[in-house]
């Protein structure tokens, strides 16, 4: 199991009502049902992945987070999860606002563009970085709004939402991000996981 999923699972309470936005094949959903008896729904845009979720017996709605979150009432979920997809939205601000509106809390994970390997790639090769968490070429990537852990922390101040927990992941090893270690974590981690609320 991906350590990202274990961390997310540790962030949520048992029997919670959860929405996984961009749930893909529903692997995290299955994990949270098993680990946390979560009452969980998924939204996914890919028809193939929606079919895969149905085949697993998951409750899934085919749709697009930028258009289809508005149907959910305020605070209708305990947690809304957005796993490594914020950077793919046309309007990340709008999506974050929607997550915070429909969820009491939201969990957002981001591939860290400030990771040293990414920086080194651009510095030495002079081409757009391609890594394990960012596997696409610049011309075919869905990631149009990439950011660093530090960017996201700054973003939370601009948007005035609260970072209840900030966790950095480095080679599957989690650690807490604080104000004092932010620059180090921003360099050494490939993934950021944030528990946020308005």
């Amino acid at each position: 199991m991906k350590s990202e999923f274990k961390i997310i699972s540790n962030l949520i309470d048992k029997n919670s009502h959860v929405l996984d936005v961009g749930c893909g094949d529903g692997i995290l959903m299955e994990f949270l049902i098993k680990e946390k008896k979560a009452n969980i729904r998924g939204i996914e845009i890919s028809k193939t992945k929606v079919q895969n979720c149905i085949a697993k017996g998951l409750t899934i709605i085919e749709g697009n987070a930028e258009d289809d979150l508005k149907q959910f009432p305020d605070k209708s979920f305990d947690y809304v999860i957005l796993g490594q997809t914020l950077q793919a939205f046309l309007k990340p601000e709008k999506v974050i606002n929607e997550l915070l509106r429909i969820g009491k809390q939201a969990i957002v994970t981001i591939p860290n563009f400030g990771y040293w390997k990414v920086r080194l790639h651009l510095l030495l090769k002079g081409t757009m970085p391609v890594t394990k968490t960012l596997p696409d070429e610049w011309y075919n990537t869905a990631n149009i709004h990439l950011c660093t852990i530090k960017d996201f922390v700054n973003f939370s101040k601009t948007m005035s939402f609260k970072l209840s927990k900030s966790i950095a992941l480095k080679n599957d090893q989690p650690s807490i991000i604080t104000n004092s270690n932010l620059n180090i974590k921003n360099l050494s981690s490939n993934l950021g996981i944030f528990l946020i609320e308005s």
Binding site: V50, Q51, I54, G57, P73
Partner: protein, 372 residues
């Protein structure tokens, strides 16, 4: 028509108050079943048929000798697996396959009802069919499933009987019949009424049928069940058994010949007055209005798990109308899944061999059946 011996019927003696204000009782409801009801009586699926369907869902229809209308989806090992589930389907009231309809005799006047038959609604159809649960001693269905007008009945059923089904699958339908759909239905009704043999609905007593009018109604409706792309790919401008245009009004094009055929076979199996009554019931369907403008209220008392399905090329009941149902359910935190199936086969997709649809339906039912 001499097919009565192949039709199972129960007589509903409980009076049924119709939306039009009249009450009916001791009326026949024709049905068919497939598979067997288990000991726990928890494996029953009530399938609702569409406008021109009937109770013969799968296998060979004993009246038409053709495959049942949902043979792709229902049968042993299929999406609605009759090895697992007990499938019940009734002919809607107002229909012409044995259930109480305008072709029946009015016991008071001893005349065929014709247009004296009361106007019925989707609500009336569903309330009549609810009696089947009592007949089979089923406390709670495993599922209610239907496409098009069948989907409307699914929505109405859950609204009327919120604790009588574990799951609900409305397919390619709407919660409120659109102006466009009322318009198409009106076209069909006017085609029938314009046939002089219709005789204000009293054609049976005059030993005739408005076959031309009914065929035109069917031809017009049939176009709405397909998609432009599907028609173009299947027929294009191909000519019918000729090398060139004949400069006349015979069926030069294959699509013309196809539609004429569809019209002609339809009149052999369907009653013109039933066509009027059932299309009227669809037009009157407005679950939003029934709930004072808030569709969510229709579902606020149910714990049923919903699965809404639409098709990309369905322009009669487009995805957005199906999605409105999903939105109404989500806004009250109901358990609902939704998928839009990619298909060029138009509204008819749910009746045809569309593997993604058949797979999704099967997976939803089989996985839900295992859940507590």
């Amino acid at each position: 028509m001499n097919f009565k011996e192949n039709i199972k019927t129960i007589t509903i003696d409980k009076p049924l108050k119709l939306d039009c204000g009249k009450t009916i009782n001791n009326f026949p409801l024709a049905y068919e079943t497939y598979g067997s009801l288990n000991k726990e009586k928890d494996n029953a699926i009530l399938v609702f048929h569409a406008l021109t369907g009937d109770q013969f869902v799968t296998g060979v229809n004993p009246v038409t000798n053709k495959d049942g209308w949902w043979s792709y989806a229902v049968g042993p090992g299929k999406s609605i697996d009759t090895k697992k589930y007990f499938v019940i389907c009734a002919n809607v009231i107002g229909g012409c396959m044995g259930s109480f309809g305008p072709g029946h005799q009015n016991p008071e006047t001893k005349k065929i009802y014709g247009t004296d038959f009361p106007v019925i609604t989707i609500n009336d159809m569903v309330n009549a069919q609810k009696n089947l649960l009592d007949h089979f001693g089923i406390k709670k269905l495993f599922s209610v499933v239907g496409g098009s007008m069948g989907g409307m009945q699914v929505l109405q059923f859950v609204s009327n009987y919120p604790d009588k089904t574990k799951t609900a699958v409305p397919i390619a339908c709407t919660s409120s019949h659109s102006a466009q759909n009322i318009a198409f239905n009106e076209l069909g009704r006017q085609a029938i009424a314009a046939d002089h043999k219709w005789q204000d609905g009293e054609y049976s007593s005059k030993n005739t049928i408005p076959d031309k009018g009914l065929a035109v109604a069917r031809m017009a409706a049939h176009i709405t069940y397909l998609s432009k792309k599907g028609l173009q790919e299947k027929f294009g401008r191909k000519l019918q058994e000729r090398d060139d245009l004949k400069f006349g009004f015979d069926a030069d094009f294959q699509i013309e010949s196809y539609l004429r055929y569809q019209g002609s076979v339809f009149v052999d199996r369907f009653d013109a007055n039933s066509y009027l009554y059932i299309t009227r019931a669809m037009d009157y369907f407005d679950l939003v209005k029934q709930n004072n403008g808030n569709l969510s209220n229709a579902f606020k008392n149910t714990k049923a798990k919903f699965f809404v399905i639409s098709f990309t090329s369905d322009w009669l009941y487009p995805t957005q109308e199906n999605k409105d149902i999903v939105i109404a359910l989500n806004s009250i935190g109901a358990n609902v899944g939704f998928v839009e199936i990619k298909s060029d086969k138009g509204h008819d997709s749910f009746l045809l061999d569309v593997p993604d649809f058949l797979k999704a339906l099967k997976n939803f039912l089989d996985k839900s059946y295992l859940e507590e």
